[in-house]
């Protein structure tokens, strides 16, 4: 029972965090056709910016300023980088963002050093929120939950209730039509790219301190975000949301399960000392998202909510 409660709590938080990243990636991809390989690098930038800002001011200022800065960086990258390679097709754009991920990591290493920085959670939130089954649950994680839900509502409001959102939605479904409506398409692209990056940055701000803020955080997060987008169905925000939660929950549930293959597949006579029999579900946790990806590709290539086959 306690395993379930813990896995549920941690899974939802992690899942929402994944959604903060994957929603930006989905927005950018479905509008511009650009698969932003450097998306997780903006997540990393968010954490580092927040570390710097909260060092000289407070965490609360960083919470607002850092994502905005990351968004601005994103907009600059779109305006002076991506736009130039746009003519060479999507693969060239993907390569550009791939190189960008490299660059950001190296610049971060130069500016902040190769090892982790001491980005701490604010003292105000550094207390146990409640205790269940003997383990206390940190208040900061509850705070993360609220931020993530807040962002979710904000995104929903932006897309459904504002004029900008309507244009974005129109652009999502009919990318070629928006230009005819007299809207400045390059400006829309730049804005969407910036907003997507800012959301990744916000995720970095709130996750950098409970995980580790080091130059490897982008590389570790990147592939999982891609998995989320493919599993959810490319271009579908709802799909990305479901896939994020699904992967967050699966990974956290897996950690909590000690059963080994030998115990699960006892009927096959698998020996618990054999290499396969010895594998426990909890040790499978890091592989789960990728396993899910491959299974999805084989059995349901369009993803959870995708409209078409990839």
């Amino acid at each position: 029972m306690e395993t379930i409660v813990f896995a549920l709590l941690n899974g939802v938080i992690y899942g929402l965090l994944l959604f903060m990243l994957s929603s930006g990636l989905t927005l950018i991809f479905s509008m511009m056709g650009v698969l932003n390989f450097a998306h997780a690098s903006f997540y990393m930038l968010g954490a580092y910016f927040a570390f710097t800002i909260s060092g000289s001011t407070t965490f609360w200022i960083a919470l607002f300023v850092a994502p905005v800065l990351v968004g601005l960086v994103g907009a600059v990258v779109e305006r002076y980088g991506l736009r130039k390679v746009h003519a060479n097709g999507h693969v060239a754009e993907l390569l550009f963002t791939f190189g960008l991920a490299y660059l950001i990591e190296e610049i971060v290493k130069i500016v902040y050093g190769k090892t982790a920085v001491d980005y701490r959670i604010p003292d105000l939130l550094n207390f146990p929120a409640f205790t269940i089954y003997g383990a206390s649950f940190p208040a900061y994680r509850i705070f993360m939950l609220f931020i993530a839900i807040g962002m979710l509502i904000g995104l929903w409001y932006l897309l459904k209730k504002t004029r900008a959102g309507l244009i974005i939605q129109a652009a999502l479904t009919h990318p070629h039509m928006v230009g005819h409506l007299g809207h400045n398409v390059p400006l829309i692209f730049m804005t969407v790219f910036g907003i997507g990056c800012a959301m990744a940055g916000l995720a970095g701000v709130i996750a950098g301190n409970i995980f580790v803020t080091d130059p490897a955080m982008a590389v570790q997060m990147g592939p999982i975000v891609f998995v989320v987008v493919v599993v959810g169905g490319i271009g579908s925000l709802e799909g990305a949301f479901l896939a994020s939660l699904l992967i967050g929950l699966i990974q956290n549930f897996a950690v909590g399960i000690n059963a080994s293959f030998a115990e699960i597949f006892w009927f096959t006579g698998l020996s618990p000392t054999s290499e396969i029999g010895d594998i426990t579900i909890s040790s499978l946790a890091p592989v789960m998202p990728f396993l899910l990806l491959v299974l999805m590709l084989i059995f349901r290539p369009r993803g959870l909510m995708g409209e078409q086959e990839l």
Binding site: N10, A135, P138, I210, S283
Partner: protein, 411 residues
């Protein structure tokens, strides 16, 4: 960061100044970046300081030591690339410690190199890779270990647990590679032998250096009802484990190999007292000579970011010097023979380099965190203090060896 590295730069330049007359090239191959970067750097600084002191005192047989650091990112293959580079640049003495997988690869590569390039031999001084096999079935003449291996450290821990009657359930957590597996196996077999009534309620191996949030593991430990946790974790895996334990309000004692790793104590804070235990070959707060205190203080002054932790790095350097002087040569084979069976009078008791397996035998100390100490760690007031009954004599920790060593011809 800037304070730390300024001092490091000073050390680098101090060693570099002597480079003009350098004769003995040594290579330090360990992580200098990434999650285990601080572990490597903490040891590197100790070596640099000791090399500098030896050079100031006239060097080894009048020759100066030049030590170069190589970053291997705790990756065995990268280590071999760096090892090749080091050998190509003339290094004949290799120091490495972080990661038994790396040490295994280096032992293998050094064996091959020495076989294929007679007259060009290389020695490997292992200061922290403690998988027992290196001085047992896979022992090598070219390998010397200055740290107690996992079975020895576990013997010290289990010896202590033997007297702790309130520990009934033990949880094992470790890194998923040869070292972590060796620790778990040693804990299981030694506990069943010394305390058959203890129940092992969990035996968890997690990926090395990849887990960013240990909270789910800690929650699992708490719900298992364990009375104590035994872990061989080191580097970031140790620090993050403690961070998660502190966040979850865990009050279970942790018996660790590397609780002294950077940042583990400060992660727990006051909560570490009587909860975090470590086994080591010496701690700064032990009664020692003024000379030793002076070394500790010099180190802290030079490298304020780190604590004096890698005492064995100094021991390894000094034993090399003694052996080279005894042999009257810095030729690796001669030095190796001189090291065999050598007894070094150290600040924390004698260190014997056992000839049959090249495993150093030394006293071990179980310590816990206390606020009543001479030297704190992590730049806070808390520091390590030996627990009652925590002085484990070298003979208690000594383990038999299965090593059948092949020796080259004596020069």
């Amino acid at each position: 960061m800037s304070i730390k590295t300024a001092a490091l730069a000073a050390a680098v330049s101090a060693v570099a100044v002597t480079a003009a007359q350098a004769e003995i090239k040594m290579a330090f191959i360990d992580p200098l970046s990434g999650p285990f970067g601080p572990s490597g750097e903490a040891a590197y600084t100790s070596y640099l300081l000791e090399a500098e002191r030896i050079n100031e005192a006239g060097g080894v047989n009048g020759e100066m030591i030049e030590l170069t650091g190589y970053d291997n990112k705790v990756n065995p293959k990268e280590s071999l690339v760096q090892l090749q580079k080091a050998i190509d640049s003339g290094a004949r003495y290799i120091f490495q410690g972080n990661g038994s997988s790396v040490a295994a690869a280096i032992i293998d590569a050094v064996n091959k190199h020495n076989k294929r390039n007679p007259g060009d031999e290389v020695l490997f001084f292992n200061y922290a890779a403690v998988t027992p096999a290196f001085t047992n079935e896979s022992c090598s003449f070219w390998h010397f270990r200055f740290d107690a291996h996992a079975d020895m450290k576990m013997a010290a821990i289990t010896d202590y647990i033997r007297s702790q009657d309130d520990i009934k359930k033990v949880y094992l957590i470790g890194q998923d590679y040869i070292f972590g597996q060796a620790v778990a196996a040693a804990a299981e077999s030694q506990l069943t032998e010394k305390r058959p009534d203890i129940e092992i309620v969990g035996n968890e191996l997690h990926p090395l250096g990849k887990v960013k949030d240990f909270t789910p593991y800690i929650q699992k430990i708490i719900s298992s009802g364990a009375d104590a946790v035994i872990t061989g974790n080191w580097g970031a895996d140790m620090q993050l484990l403690m961070k998660a334990a502190a966040e979850s309000g865990s009050d279970i004692p942790y018996m660790t190999f590397y609780g002294g790793s950077l940042g583990a104590v400060s992660a727990l804070g006051e909560g570490a007292m009587d909860l975090l235990y470590q086994v080591s070959e010496g701690i700064t707060n032990l009664e020692a000579s003024d000379e030793q205190y002076e070394l500790i203080e010099t180190y802290k002054e030079r490298f304020p970011e780190y604590d004096y932790y890698y005492h064995r790095a100094h021991v390894a350097m000094r034993m090399f010097k003694e052996a080279a002087e005894k042999a009257g040569s810095v030729d690796p084979i001669a030095v190796a023979y001189a090291l065999e069976g050598m007894v070094h009078q150290d600040a924390y008791g004698p260190v014997t380099m056992r000839a049959e397996d090249h495993q150093a035998q030394q006293n071990l100390y179980i310590s816990t965190v206390s606020d009543d100490v001479k030297y704190g760690v992590d730049n806070i007031e808390l520091g390590w203090k030996v627990v009652e009954g925590g002085e484990i004599d070298a003979s208690v920790a000594e383990q038999p060896t299965t090593c059948e060593m092949e020796r080259p011809e004596k020069p």
